[in-house]
Symmetry: C2
Amino acid sequence: MIIDGKGLSNHLDSSMKAEVKALHKVGIEPKLVVIIVGHDPASQIYVRNKHRKAIKLGITSIIERRPEDFTQDELLALIDQYNRDETVHGILVQLPLPKQIDETAIIRAIAIEKDVDGFRPENVGKLFNNSEGYYPVSCTPKGIMTMLAHYQINPKSQHAVIVGDSNIVGRPMGALLLNAGATVTYTHILTKDLPSFTRTADILIVATGVAHLVKGTDIKPGATVIDVGMDRDANGKLVGDVDFDSAKNVAGAITPVPGGVGPMTITSLMQQTLELTKLATRKTLEPVK
Amino acid sequence: MIIDGKGLSNHLDSSMKAEVKALHKVGIEPKLVVIIVGHDPASQIYVRNKHRKAIKLGITSIIERRPEDFTQDELLALIDQYNRDETVHGILVQLPLPKQIDETAIIRAIAIEKDVDGFRPENVGKLFNNSEGYYPVSCTPKGIMTMLAHYQINPKSQHAVIVGDSNIVGRPMGALLLNAGATVTYTHILTKDLPSFTRTADILIVATGVAHLVKGTDIKPGATVIDVGMDRDANGKLVGDVDFDSAKNVAGAITPVPGGVGPMTITSLMQQTLELTKLATRKTLEPVK
């Protein structure tokens, strides 16, 4: 079975469109600000795709482009401006940032109620502690959970193996799966005999940035394989971290690249923009004690 | 090899005593407040042991005992009093709390600079993201890392298996081991075929509260086995989550119960009290921009 992230993303658009329309009717205009510094080519594509999706859904999208030599103080001032702007509900700073800017400081400068990427330590801590209540979560793992739910793949008591333990994908992915009742193994660059782990996975999440790292022989027959990679092969073709051709006949379900995880990441971003909009405007209407 | 947590804890006392003495000389008096609500017998013992260790080291220790029917608002007011008290450097609320009190709300009420247990979401998030800089971490896993380092057991590229995924022990333990370069597997009550995981562990951490859950046959020969359990067997004897008698001949290194993890938890608490004291007083002397 091919997990059609693109199709699911488009399917979820209609309900989000309706939600935006309903918010507009009561005078609420969901607004997302995306800040991009420099000219990383992949980042340019991601930002463009986010903007297009927002427009399609009726979400107001502002892209702030700044040059490669933009300073940290200038970026902090820009964030501060949007933190104080009550018409803005989500602020996203596209990573990676140029060398002169400290990503950690930038992430912590975004107001917690506008942290649409869920990268602030408070939101990460709530995720890792499986806290109650709403908090934003890193968009790629969130989108993967939405895909698993839609395809009725329940992680409870399954062995989920994460390959790659980045703060943006691997670590929050493991936390979400642990919170859903999975047994979770984190593997990474220092792991010895990686295939001995991947072969025991009922759900295998690969997020390493290494083209075709995982082959069909590294996969347990029938497993669900989620490929987060967006790599280029020797011919410049867009491929994943999983060797799709050898993996597709072993896996029970697998995401393609492109058309798998990528579109769902953007869908999660839009969902979280709407959640933060509702939280912010509800707070205005009914002040919390 | 038996890992002597009690001995290591006593060994570390001398350097902490010297540190407290040096702080006293410059007019700084490290002070820890422990709040205990109700009469849970295990909690009474833990609090007494913490108090004794603080006294031994020269740390000022205040125990605030409150009755079982103490309300959440009363507890919040007590915490607020110590948050505003500049002579206090660490505040610990002994868990569990009686049913009428929301633990999450209490944890988040402690000022972040006095969160000596490292339970606030900001500190948990920093741990999970392997952030730079100092932040307090849950004391039991921190003490286990200190033991591993002292016994020169390097987690890098080792497979660490955590049994029990609580927010106080299992989850932060896995994060610390992941940050140290281990491959980490979280297992728990929903895990299928637990021994199939424990038998692959180079480092096995058991924190379930189930007496003698893990037997010698569940352990990989030569593994390091850390037993966080403090359970009572049928005869009322204090035992661990690991069946020590069958495990000690299989494990390469193992902690006893009592005398293993318990004393190191208290040592970590004292270390973190001193760290927070130094941070708070340094801040007074050299204001951060």
